[in-house]
Amino acid sequence: MTTEKTLGENDIIICEGVKKWFGDFQALKGVTTNIKEREVVVVIGPSGSGKSTFIRCINRLEVHQEGRIIVDGVELSSDVRNIDKIRSEVGMVFQQFNLFPHLTVLQNVTLAPMWVRKKPREEAEATAMALLERVGIPEQAAKFPGQLSGGQQQRVAIARSLAMEPRIMLFDEPTSALDPEMIKEVLDVMKELALSGMTMIVVTHEMGFAREVADRVFFFDYGTIVEEGTPEHFFTNPSHDRTKLFLSQIL
């Protein structure tokens, strides 16, 4: 993996012993990790292992019951002020895109900056158009999400999150719902994003992406990080048996 960037000094995300239950099912069994600024982390693992739950805890879409999560120096707790602040600094891209179907593409991207960051309309629209160009679909600005292909929709979703100028971007299986010919265009956008220095946590099955772009790879299983390491270490010589088993099933 070639890098034109250097990792930051600071830990932008710190997790200590994070545990989460759904009813009496324990989804996270004590996750402890640190992620540096500008780091790109890819999380892999079997379904039901808790990886989606993990990243959803980071922007407080799920509430962890034990342990601490500290994002950019602010601890996630039930403090109202902190939650909103965190959410505007952490962007999220979903597997199902979740664009707002009743608004145009441009309105999708400008909605949050206008009403959360209180930016005036012209400024928000200018930023939006610039972002749409960056993800490669400026001509779709006036269309509705239902008129776009899956790949285009996901790119709009990425632009929408970027419009809030986040410091961290979370990706929850962004390409799993796409047809094969559209996966590449989304991955290209994500690669460009990574190279430009965004801190990213990506949950995905795209091993090619992991090999090319990731600084670190986490293997999640049964609610905890079983193994972590650089992509070379991971794909050529994994240490743990479970890792080996999983990789043998998907590669």
């Binding site: 830990d11 239950w21 039930s78």
Partner: protein
């Protein structure tokens, strides 16, 4: 689990100052804010209630009205147009009559509307243009006109068919009919429960249970071996056998009546406070059991899982409810008292007499009646004399007084009426005997005698058409037939003294004008909605299903029966239940057409006694209870239908 590598080192190298874990201040804490909002809302609500309720009480007192439940025990003094008890003794029975009227209309309406709605719904899908258009026309017309207007319409139509004047050529005369219209309503022949019906019903019940087991067994044999064992027919056969046996052997179960009386005496002996304590204990136990079960669900092998505040809320609410109910039961004896009274009444006064084989009040042998008839008296007079004798003690008349009065030429009837009526003919207000007076109409002289037939016999005797001996033979025949559990009775029209024609209340079935108007309006209206539901349900079963079925070789009716209708039924069922609920509630419009359903009866009670709040509470309890029961039934069946799917 492999510990992540190198964490400790990084932790120590933190360049960022991390805030220690501290609770956020309460005005920013999301959890506290949420609960504060909810609790303040609840508090505001309670505060408003606390302001309004005393105001209501003040206003009520200002108008000299009170809130109380005593009127349930006392006599209200107005008659109800129709129902199980048209002259109720207590307020409670008044309400009961109204409620039963509502239920009568509801049940008959539900059955009729379902049948009609299904037919019209299927007709709406027919390929025959005429049938299709007629069904459409029906739905569009009926649905778009308010139900109240329909009720007014049907009441006007019924008046159109009313035949009042018996002196008119060709109008109805006294007699027996299959179907007749008089001023009281529509009379129709019907099968009636008669002597020993409930005992026979027990035989039927046993037969049904036996039939069920027989069916199960036959079905199992059929499934495993494949040979035709006719499970449905065998079950039916078993039921029939028991029915026939029961027809003759029903007196066997008369002991059930005594059993019921025994239960009634036991209930009567239970002290109110005992029941209160038992209920309070039950409430607390129920709360404890629920909380235990709730916690069990959250117990994992690793110990108790962390409880969210939602869980805590539920447990606290459950505990509070249990305590509140326990306190309520202990403090207010009225509920327990009422429950005991009602059950005692149910077993002693309602259930026990049902198993009593005799229905006549008077115990005169036929020969005695014949003798009296021969001496020139009519059945009416004999009944009056019996009435007088039965009430002699209450009226403070001795046997000697009665004999003297009879000897002086007064008929028993005149003597009796003189005692209980004012000189101008109205009933004496201060009637200290209350319910204890026994009234003996002629039909009570002989088991199975009906009012119409009694009048006929009297007329025939008076005109000299039959002899007393023949009358006696007729009465004997009637008495013999009285022991059959079912009786086929035609609608009997008779002319009581004022010359108008009336339907005999003990023969056939009487559908009053109000009942008919409400029933038909509600049936037609609901049927139009049911038709749309049925149509949508059948259409929702995709065409591919019918095509697949026919390609398998199933005939059209087979594919309908095995493929389309079962699937359509699953879709139809929930909205159908909803329509039944609507029908149940729509019967309340009977108020507008003088049908005494529970709302109309309640309205009258409010006007008479001024008790608005208790009546409102009764209405709410009745309708909510009915809705709850109906919804539970619908949900239960719905869940069973769904389970089969996956």
């Amino acid at each position: 689990m492999v510990p992540p590598t190198g964490l400790k080192g990084r932790q120590r190298n933190l360049a960022v100052i991390v805030r220690k874990q501290e609770r956020p201040p309460f005005w920013r804490n999301a959890t506290i804010l949420k609960w504060a909002a909810q609790l303040s809302f609840l508090f505001g609500f309670i505060a408003i209630a606390a302001v309004v309720i005393p105001q209501v009480q003040d206003n009520l007192e200002g108008q000299n009205l009170t809130f109380g439940w005593d009127w349930l025990r006392g006599r209200l003094g107005f008659l109800i147009r129709e129902g199980i008890d048209t002259d109720p003794d207590t307020g409670a029975r008044t309400i009961l009559t109204g409620a039963v009227n509502t239920l009568r209309v509801t049940i008959s309406g539900v059955i009729a509307a379902t049948l009609l709605g299904t037919i019209i719904g299927i007709g709406r899908l027919s390929s025959n243009w005429l049938v299709n258009r007629l069904a459409s026309l029906y739905i569009e017309t009926i649905r778009n006109i308010p139900l109240l207007l329909w009720m007014f319409f049907w009441i006007a139509v019924v008046a159109f068919f009313n035949i009042i004047d018996p002196t008119l050529e060709g109008s109805v005369e006294a007699g027996s009919y299959f179907l007749t219209f008089t001023r009281k309503g529509i009379g129709s022949a019907w099968i009636q429960p008669w002597g020993g019906f409930y005992q026979w019903a027990i035989w039927l019940l046993i037969g049904a249970v036996a039939g069920y087991f027989v069916h199960k067994r036959q079905f199992r044999i059929k499934e495993t071996t494949g040979q035709e064992t006719y499970p449905n027919l065998s079950a039916l056969g078993v039921l029939l056998v028991f029915a026939v046996i029961g027809w003759f052997a029903h007196p066997v179960f008369s002991f059930v009546g005594h059993g019921a009386e025994f239960i009634a005496t036991i209930i009567g002996a239970i002290p109110t406070i005992g029941l209160q304590i038992a209920l309070a204990a039950a409430a607390i136990f129920l709360g404890y059991w629920w909380i235990n079960r709730f916690l069990d669900e959250r117990r994992t092998p690793a110990g108790l899982a962390k409880l969210t505040d939602d869980d805590w809320f539920r447990m606290i609410t459950a505990a509070l409810l249990a305590l509140v109910f326990a306190a309520f039961f202990l403090m207010f004896s009225g509920l327990a008292r009422g429950a005991l009274d009602v059950s005692e009444d149910f077993f002693g006064r309602w259930l026990a007499p049902k198993f009593d084989s005799t229905t006549n009040v008077v115990d005169l042998p036929i020969s005695e009646i014949e003798a009296q008839l021969a001496s020139g008296l009519l059945l009416e007079d004999i009944a009056a004399e019996q009435e007088l004798l039965l009430n002699a003690e209450l009226l403070n008349l001795s046997r000697a007084d009665i004999d003297a009065a009879l000897a002086s030429g007064l008929t028993a009837r005149r003597i009796y009426e003189a005692e209980i009526n004012n000189p101008d003919g109205t009933r004496k207000d201060t009637n200290p005997w209350g319910e204890r007076l026994v009234f003996v109409p002629p039909k009570k002289l002989v088991d199975g005698l009906t009012a119409g037939v009694a009048v006929e016999i009297d007329e025939a005797l008076g005109d000299g058409l039959i002899t007393p001996a023949e009358a006696g033979a007729e009465l004997q025949k009637i008495k013999d037939r009285a022991n059959a559990p079912l009786r086929w009775s035609k609608a009997e029209v008779f002319a009581p003294r004022d010359g108008f024609l009336d339907l005999s209340p003990t023969s056939g079935i009487v559908i009053t004008r109000g009942f008919f108007a409400v029933w038909i309006a509600v049936t037609l209206y609901t049927a139009s909605f049911i038709a749309e539901i049925v149509r949508a349900g059948i259409l929702a079963v995709s065409k591919g299903q019918t095509e697949a079925a026919s390609s398998l070789g199933l005939s059209r009716s087979q594919s309908l029966r095995f493929i389309v209708l079962p699937q359509a039924f699953r879709i139809i069922f929930p909205p159908l239940g909803n329509q039944y609920l609507n029908l149940f509630k729509n019967t309340s419009l009977g108020l507008a057409v003088a049908f005494p359903d529970i709302v109309a009866v309640g309205q009258t009670i409010t006007n008479q006694t001024g008790q608005t709040v208790p009546v409102i509470l009764i209405w709410m309890g009745f309708f909510l209870g009915g809705s709850l029961i109906l919804s539970s039934i619908v949900n239960f069946y719905n869940r069973r239908l769904q389970l089969v799917e996956r």
